[in-house]
Amino acid sequence: MSDSDKIIQEYTTREYEHGFVTDIEMDVVPPGLDEEKIRFISRKKNEPDWLLEFRLKAYRTWKQMEQPNWAHLDIPPIDFQSYSYYAEPKKKPRYKSLDEVDPKLIETFNKLGIPLEEQKRLAGVAVDAVFDSVSVMTTYKETLQELGIIFCSISEAVQEHPDLVKKYLGSVVPIHDNFYAALNSAVFSDGSFVYIPPGVRCPMELSTYFRINTKGLGQFERTLIIADEGSYVSYLEGCTAPMRDENQLHAAVVEIIVHKDAEVKYSTVQNWYPGDEEGKGGIFNFVTKRGICLGDRSKLSWTQVETGSAITWKYPSTILKGDYSQAEFYSVALTNNRQQADTGTKMIHLGKHTKSLVISKGISAGRSQNTYRGMVSIAKNAVHSRNFSQCDSLLLTDKCGAHTFPYIDVHNSSSVVEHEATTSKIADEQIFYLQQRGLDEEEAVRLIVNGYAREVLQQLPMEFAAEARKLLEISLEGSVG
């Protein structure tokens, strides 16, 4: 065994940093899914009839659908009846003030680096903390309210702002969109709701932190972001889960509506438990994220840093409907050990003079499989539109795989689509050069990979760029071979 192999072994056996379990009493709905369970969730959340109908319709649709299998993924059979679809802390599901929150929950988020206490809060970042199926706490809510900004859990929005939720829910990702979106529409538990009124520039980063804790629980969050005319918001989500031997299910839906002259930046730092080095356990992450640039000159920008999950199936997409609207997709997807990722984006150009940019950086290590799947579609009426896509893959070992599946569909002659793709292996020459300057092999790989991912990392809000860099470094430990 060579030195570098030894280093790999040492580090891959290192534990997932966020793998602890919070011992807290939870009300967990028994496993399985039927109409009665859906009525129960809806009742528990005191939902209006139209929402119960929405859920039931979704459930009936889902029952008719089959799990998609077109992705470059090896998904073991999933028994959807074995999961529990709802869990909430026993002691009061929603808290009016922090004094009412179970100290164990506060401690959990503290451990994750998300302090909820007033004096310790991250400056310039409002946080919605979601634990299993419920939102625990939203910080800086009052400050935002003064500007007319609504930032709360979606359950709360259903109660307080039903008209807005009713108008937009399912408008970008319809119930029947796909198998996992239909399931989410039937059983979604909590998630964030954001509304930015016309002309308002949100003065702080809005952030949701998702934590799966309960064993055997599926998490199905639903996020809805609406940026009204001429507004701006930057939103970030982060995710972790304890280490468990069985696979946990996560199927989220995110919908974003960007009106005329508005801009939304949506960033994800995803660090769900990836399973152990042999591929045991880990989160199945089946996520549907889609935004619509509804108005003219609107802009939506996605940035994702994906290092976690056993299996990732995720394609944050944008429908460019307004004329002169713009969309961007920046992605770093790192897979190690036995992880599998099939991820990318769809850019659907409908409006005239629309522009999209795709920068995807895949990093494969261990025996992982990393796939970029992207679609660029330019409709007949989307004249003078442009897309530029760049998909790079970096291989760190000779046992991993990188794959690129671009789909391009252009229906007019005035538009321009460009696609560039590269695949490279981390060069021994680069590592040796840095070793000759005093860095060890691990440090050298970290520096090279950070450089490789730079274009994407620098899109992240400053507060999170450093964290994302650290996360990449941790996920990389021992990946050299």
Binding site: D3, A427, D428, E429, Q430, F432, Y433, L434, Q435, Q436, R437, G438, L439, D440, E441, E443, L447, I448, N450, G451, Y452, A453, R454, E455
Partner: protein, 256 residues
């Protein structure tokens, strides 16, 4: 056995690269403060020597010893050799996309400082130091918003090696064809940088094809390397002789 008093002592070194014997019994002693030059035709093993000293994977030492400061180099990782003060300038420095010059220089400098038990430089001290050195080399434009060696001209890459050399303050400097592809002005800049680093303790090994560089950096000892062995050593007049007669003639005279 290592030679007492040498900074770098190489005894009967045999190195194999990709199943080919490249160095076949090379011996060399460099004392503190000395400047040695190794000259030789293409394929004689000049670069292999520098990479073997650096500890590059694939440069298998089949026999002989290398001692540095009395320590057996075969027991040290490449980064340990670097941190102990061996600096190699590469003939073709690699590009590292996305890694800014500033981040790179600061990372390696602080790593060396940490190894020597010194505090890391503050942002301001570091900036001041880098700017100062970059200015003397005419590299000011390359330290702002540029990635390591990316899009650098041949000459800029060579000067970037010297920038690192000056920052890291190594004790044993090996310059592998630092003069290749450089015009006369650039060679003078290189010579000025090297001469500025000579302090009576720091040692240099200049690997070169031509005598030209040695007009500006005066060596104490000149070695001629042919087929993996040093066939002749002498003072700087040997380089002049080589320039006048050419390798073939000189080698023939040695072999007779």
């Amino acid at each position: 056995m290592e030679n007492q008093g040498s900074l770098l002592s190489i005894r009967d070194l045999h190195v194999r690269v990709e199943d080919k014997d490249i160095l076949r019994g090379l011996s060399l002693d460099i004392r503190p403060g000395e400047v040695h030059a190794i000259m030789g035709p293409n394929g004689s093993g000049k670069s292999t020597l520098s990479l073997a000293i650096a500890g590059k994977e694939g440069y298998e030492v089949q026999g002989g010893q290398m001692y540095y400061k009395g320590k057996d180099l075969s027991e040290m990782d490449p980064e340990e050799r670097a941190l102990e003060g061996i600096f190699i300038s590469f003939q073709h420095p690699v590009e590292i996309p996305g890694v800014t010059m500033m981040n790179f220089l600061r990372t390696i400098l602080n790593k060396h400082r940490e190894y020597r038990g010194e505090e890391p430089l503050s942002g301001r001290e570091f900036l001041q130091r880098v700017r100062e050195v970059a200015t003397t080399l005419g590299l000011d434009h390359l330290i702002r918003n540029r990635f390591v060696n990316e899009g650098f001209s041949g000459g800029e890459k060579k000067k970037n090696e010297l920038l690192q050399m000056i920052l890291l303050e190594p004790e044993m400097v090996i310059l592998d064809e630092i003069d290749s592809g450089l015009d006369i002005d650039a060679i003078k800049t290189v010579a000025k940088a090297v001469n500025g680093m000579r302090d009576g303790k720091r040692s240099f090994l200049l690997i070169t094809h031509y005598q030209r560089l040695l007009n500006f950096i005066e060596p104490d000892v000149v070695h001629i390397l042919v087929d993996g062995k040093i066939v002749k050593s002498g003072d700087k007049r040997l380089a002049e002789e080589l320039e006048a007669r050419g390798y073939d003639q000189l080698v023939a005279s040695v072999q007779q």
